[in-house]
């Protein structure tokens, strides 16, 4: 999701100004000159200033030099596979799976939810069915054992309570 510096800089100007305005509106502490508004106002104004500098291309030269240096040393390993515009939406799968986890884990329990998340993530990353199924079965059980049994994290049982609960 590469955007131009003009776009990200303008966004930061807007965000900074909104922050400074919202900070300015915070209620002061009675009898005290300095309150909770000072820090957000200063931070917001600085963000807006940085956004303006970025939009005008200040500092871009440093970035180009660093990228060229990294590429020359073989450290660049982020060649994106080009397969059409929709293909890039795959990046949203991991955060999407986390949201799915939040929505269903209390209803169906940790083991089934984690199995679905692991299976979908593995499949999306190109795993064969055998590997994806193996990960979906073993990873949730292993993680449940460590976090529930050893670390006492209260993971919901749902449909599939584990024997060590």
């Amino acid at each position: 999701m590469k955007l131009s510096d003009r776009v990200t800089g303008t966004f930061l100007v807007g965000l900074g100004l909104v922050t400074a305005y919202a900070g300015h509106k915070l209620p002061p502490v009675p009898g005290q000159q300095i309150g909770p508004e000072v820090f957000p106002v200063v931070t917001g104004l600085c963000i807006a200033l940085c956004g303006a500098l970025i939009a005008f291309g200040i500092g871009a030269k440093f970035e180009e030099e660093a990228e060229a240096d990294l590429a020359a040393h073989g450290g660049e390993n982020i060649a994106v596979v080009e397969r059409g515009p929709l293909y890039k939406l795959r990046v949203l799968i991991p955060p999407g799976l986390l949201v799915f986890y939040v929505l269903v884990v209390d209803r169906i329990g940790f083991i089934p939810t984690a199995a679905i998340v692991a299976f979908l993530a593995a499949t999306a990353l190109g795993a064969r069915l055998k590997l994806a199924a193996g990960v979906a079965i073993l990873a949730p059980i292993g993680i449940h054992l460590i976090f529930y049994k050893l670390l006492r994290v209260p993971l919901p049982d749902g449909f599939l309570p584990m024997p060590w609960r």
Binding site: M1, D5, L26, P27, Q33, I34, G35, P36, V38, F39, P40, T43, I47, C50, I54, I58, G59, A60, K61, F62, E63, D69, H73, G74, G75, N77, I78, A79, V80, V81, Y87, K88, R90, V91, L92, P94, P95, L97, L98, V99, Y101, V102, A114, V117, A118, A121, A122, L125, A127, L131, A132, G134, A136, A139, P140, I143, L150, L151, V153, L155
Partner: protein
């Protein structure tokens, strides 16, 4: 003092601490060797586990895992030309060239041997520097603490391998994140949008896990799998390392010193140390023409440097609560959580705990040698593990680990949101490490800033009046003005000269 050391040994050799060191070392070695999984990510994923450990065991896991992961990143660099961690990127080409020349054993052996020596040198610097600095720091007021924290944030932006303006913007975004919640001078809800879960603020740990772990899984969705690791048998890993130590003792020492200085500098970490040391090694070498063709000298200096920086990075973290790098930013959270609040008094009130940390550093760097050799021998098998089998486990660890921080599902949503933010920022050249430092240090910066302003009745003059405060202010303002001055110099002064 000796009583403190005896107590420290007792703390370190408690069974839970020994088990924590061994298990986290193995974890650090495995995660660090897997391309795309950085030492910072390994450390961030470990934090939820530290909740349930004793203070010393919790810090031992962070120290051992990060030290091992930084070394272990050299393994795929040498064998596949893919750095396991960013700290190995500087000399990946050199190490791979050695492998192609049939010298993989020497490249990997130099990695483990000089990393261990560098780590021990960094620990000695931590032991030597921290107590006298603590004496000085005892006289610091909120003005000095404000400038120190601000200077730390500025250093992080100056050394970022990106546009300094973008790095400053990323750091400010981190400060903005730290504004959320009720923990502010007025105790009023700030930027909570009526969401009850935001009243307590955004916890740094889920944010860290999001920007370092989830964003990495997101990148994996679009990047091709690394090439499969060919099966190979290694000869003696440590053969010739003593000879190399004698031959390159000065580059090694220089690497240690540079690593220590960069580590102590707030905000700069192991990757910066490796880049600077590799460049220095090439510049001052008697055989600069051999660099890039598989020459071990650069590996010796940079390998010694990145691990030395890891230990010295704890100096500002322990003394001032100002992180030396992203790993110590996480460590500071663990220190607070375990009641070892950073500050100069830590060295007087909890001296035995401090000595215990020194001992753990030494032990971690010593056991790095045998464990590192085993790891190199097993590398062919571990590096064949399919990414599609590892990344789903990381997603699950992100969910369960962040939930464990407060038994709240809101933390899982925070992880997801910061994963997206981290991915977008990284893709557009905004360094996420600077944002993380902003998040971790935001409360401290605001507290010292507002307390100082209240003390001075709203005047900013006292910020520059005390001698130490004035020096720190000058350094900070210089760091802040640097990108603009550099831009003006290039734009208006350099161009007419070329014309």
């Amino acid at each position: 003092m000796w009583a403190n050391y005896m107590e420290a040994f007792r703390l370190v050799f408690a069974p839970d601490v020994v088990i924590a060191i061994i298990l986290s070392s193995i974890y650090g070695l495995v995660v660090g060797s897997l391309p795309g999984l950085s030492a910072t990510m390994a450390t961030a994923l470990l934090v939820p586990v530290t909740f349930y450990l004793s203070p010393i065991a919790a810090n031992a896991t962070i120290i051992a895992a990060s030290a091992m992961a930084i070394f272990s990143g050299d393994i795929p660099g040498a064998l596949l030309r893919i750095p396991g961690t960013p700290a190995s990127a500087a000399y990946t080409d050199e190490a791979y060239a050695m492998t192609r020349k049939g010298q993989a054993e020497m490249a990997l052996g130099a990695g483990v041997w000089f990393s261990a020596l560098g780590g021990i040198a960094g620990t000695i610097s931590l032991m030597a520097l921290a107590p006298p600095l603590a004496e000085i720091a005892l006289s610091f007021s909120t003005f000095e603490y404000f400038w120190l924290a601000f200077l730390g944030l500025m250093c992080a932006t100056l050394v970022a391998r990106s546009s300094p303006v973008k790095a400053i913007a990323a750091m400010l975004l981190g400060l903005l994140v730290s504004c959320v919640g009720m923990e502010n001078p007025g105790g009023v809800p700030r930027f909570t949008f009526g969401i009850a879960d935001l009243l307590g603020g955004i916890e740094p740990i889920p944010a860290l896990v999001g920007v370092f772990a989830v964003s990495e899984v997101m990148r994996a969705m679009l990047t091709p799998d690394p090439p499969p690791m060919p099966k190979r048998k290694f000869g003696s890993i440590m053969a010739g390392q003593l000879h190399l130590t004698k031959k390159y003792w000065w580059p090694m020492t220089r690497g240690n010193i540079v690593g220590i200085i960069i580590g102590v500098l707030p905000g700069a970490g192991a990757d910066m140390a490796a880049w600077v040391s590799y460049a220095m090694s090439k510049k001052f070498s008697k055989e600069p023409e051999k660099f890039g063709t598989g020459h071990v000298e650069g590996l010796v200096e940079a390998g010694a440097s990145n691990n030395a920086s890891l230990a010295s990075g704890w100096v500002p973290a322990l003394l001032f609560g100002v992180p030396g790098d992203t790993i110590t930013a996480i460590a500071i959270g663990v220190l607070y959580m375990k009641g070892l609040n950073p500050g100069p008094t830590l060295f007087t009130e909890k001296a035995s705990s401090m000595y215990a940390l020194y001992i753990i550093f030494i032990i971690a760097n010593i056991i790095m040698i045998p464990l590192g050799i085993i790891m190199i021998r097993l590398a062919s098998r571990i590096l064949r593990a399919p990414r599609s089998g590892i990344m789903p486990i990381i997603v699950l660890c992100c969910a369960v680990g962040s939930f464990a921080t407060g038994n709240s599902l809101f933390a899982v949503l925070t992880v997801a949101a910061f994963g997206v933010i981290g991915y977008v920022m990284e893709a557009n050249g905004y360094p996420v490490a600077a944002m993380v430092l902003g998040i971790v240090m935001g409360t401290m910066v605001e507290q010292s800033f507002v307390t100082s302003l209240i003390k001075s009745d709203g005047s900013i003059v006292p910020f520059f009046e005390r001698p130490v405060s004035a020096v720190l202010a000058a350094l900070t303002i210089g760091a802040l003005a640097w990108p603009v001055l550099y831009w003006i110099w290039r734009k208006f002064l350099l161009r007419p000269a070329h014309a």
